[in-house]
Symmetry: C2
Subunit: 231 residues, 2 copies
Amino acid sequence: MASIQESIKKDFGIEFSDQKLLLEAFTQGNYLNEHPEEGGRDYQRLEFLGDSVMQLIVADYLFTRYPDWEEGQLTEMRIAMVQSKSFSHFARLAHFDRYIRLGKGEELSGARNRDGLLEDIWEAFVGALYKDQGAKAVFDFLNQIFFPAVDAGFFEEFIDYKSKLQELLQRDGSVDIEYKVVKEDLSDAQKPHFEVAVFVDGQPLGSGSGRSIKIAEKKAAKVAYGDVLPK
Amino acid sequence: MASIQESIKKDFGIEFSDQKLLLEAFTQGNYLNEHPEEGGRDYQRLEFLGDSVMQLIVADYLFTRYPDWEEGQLTEMRIAMVQSKSFSHFARLAHFDRYIRLGKGEELSGARNRDGLLEDIWEAFVGALYKDQGAKAVFDFLNQIFFPAVDAGFFEEFIDYKSKLQELLQRDGSVDIEYKVVKEDLSDAQKPHFEVAVFVDGQPLGSGSGRSIKIAEKKAAKVAYGDVLPK
């Protein structure tokens, strides 16, 4: 079996100077209780550090990439990117689940595939990488596996544009918001297609399309939200 | 009048490569509305970035300085350090209030001395410094004005040790917690001195002293909290 270091090197070209730091990031507390001879620490301190590292590297990425975005948009996108569901997804994608050194009880209870643990391990790895090699190395790592998801629209799913549009529109009092299917194509059962428009007090404000009404509604809300947002 | 750059250089030895970034950090939105000829942006995007910069630099500082602290202690101290009251205090200490370019209405309403604005400006300056010169420069700046306050006990006031002790002790059911003045010296009216002990179910768990009962109680709670905390 390849070591964690070998796998990380193969997958991401990353070599740790301090192997203990790498191991620490993948070590759960009960594993150490069961292997007191190994010494060292569990991942929790590195998780503490990695949490802030993710916040900053993502903030810096968004700040640089979107020079025209206001603070509100930047914050919203950062929140969508820096959260549990996102981290556990990328931890799996990076095969981090395979490397975790778990206690037996946790192994039996299926902790290896639990979102909460995978999120922690993601942060711990990022913390370890920052400590070992600095912010630039973390940026390069995220450029391989995390930031490409921005262009793929991955983080959009964590932004509830329908709620956001409603909040924004109703800031100054109640308005009528209605989503209507304005076009649908069900000719290919494998590829249904819907177009939805959002109407505010009867006026169309945006439209979107997709393979489900829900997706099309969300896209319509996003377009409308972008148009209403104070510039 | 000295420019912001001259003052920052004199006080902290910091010279910005990008003067626009420095100016942006000290510019409030309405100032720009009143001086459209100046162009540029207000501080808000830099504040977004600086918020994360403070989180990380402080996390890294604590992680490195306190190798024996658990995640919980690190998090608690970071929260005490990275918050509004702390930032507005240091913004004043650094004379940042003098440099803000405010709109006339804000000036008249006293915004220059408002905690909320000073906190934002602190973060914006830190964001600008990070963008201009990187994490190391921010660390050096904080080493001049912010981190020394750790040793002076400045951030302790933001940690509510009495509540924390109570939470910790009552995790597994109700216990009786009592603070008693065990010694007091009022012979010098200018320098009263109190010693307080905290008793848990009748057993003394820690004591502390100070110029008021409130301060002595807090110190006693801190000592007891440190002793009870799972290692």
